[in-house]
Symmetry: C2
Subunit: 159 residues, 2 copies
């Protein structure tokens, strides 16, 4: 990634937007925008809701249920991970999330009989990433780890 002095963040964002995972996430968001109310929004604008910096994180209370908006972001992020895995392996990867009323829970991604990803999550209320690059990296890492697991146990992933 070539970063010109003076505009590092912009170039960093552009590089993040060009990654396969972020493109997949944007496609999913646009697909769910049934009435096209966000057709005029740029990719960066659509993803703005996923960006939560350290200051903002601290200000989000973690009391009570995570709201519908954060649950939507949380679920669509892991759906994009599943779709990216499918695009590269031709295996359907289904996310399954179980979040309690307190914002604690588990996320699992499975293909066939293989658990390709399993994570205990907390503070779902604060789900988000500091920058677009961090979002792109987190998604790409999940996809890469999942594909490594599928390659380690190919017949279980197809069972």
């Amino acid at each position: 990634m070539s970063v010109t002095a003076g505009t590092p963040v912009v170039n960093e964002d552009e590089a993040a937007l060009a990654t396969p995972f972020v493109k997949c996430l944007v496609r999913l968001i646009r697909a769910q925008d049934t009435y096209g109310s966000q057709d005029g929004a740029s990719d960066a604008e659509l993803l703005a809701r996923f960006i939560v910096n350290e200051q903002q994180r601290r200000e989000i209370p973690i009391i009570g249920d995570p709201d519908a908006d954060v649950m939507w972001r949380f679920n669509i992020f892991y759906t994009a991970v599943g779709l990216s895995i499918e695009a590269r392996t031709r295996l359907v990867a289904s996310p399954i999330t179980m979040i309690s009323h307190e914002g604690f829970g588990r996320v699992l991604l499975t293909t066939g009989r293989l658990v390709v990803f399993s994570k205990t999550v907390r503070d779902v209320h604060r789900f988000g990433f500091a920058t677009l690059r961090k979002l792109a990296e987190a998604g790409a890492k999940l996809v890469d780890d999942a594909i490594a697991a599928i390659e380690a146990y190919p017949e279980v992933a197809r069972a």
Copy 2:
């Protein structure tokens, strides 16, 4: 199972109550009864809530969210399956359930990286079994199938 003429249902129920799966389920229910308010209840009485006959099934509306009581029964049943698997294999089997507001959803049981059980469920509102024997058989079959899967992929179940 020896069934004496005249009292087949009673003996059938007794046989069901003596199976390892049903004993495990009863232990779990008693463990959750923190204040001991049901200490005087027999095992059959504790399990009465799981018995839903065909007539009762039809009368349960499947509109709106399944209520807290049925979700509790649903979750404790699959937790008992997980515990029974653990008792026989020494591997922790965690259930993860994702039920939508309409009573549709998925249940997964995993050990290590192996999905030992995966099911799409519907009409969770009507979760229940026609008789104690059916309950015992359904639980035992899930446990047996899960153990067969673990034996088929032993290293994945321990990954």
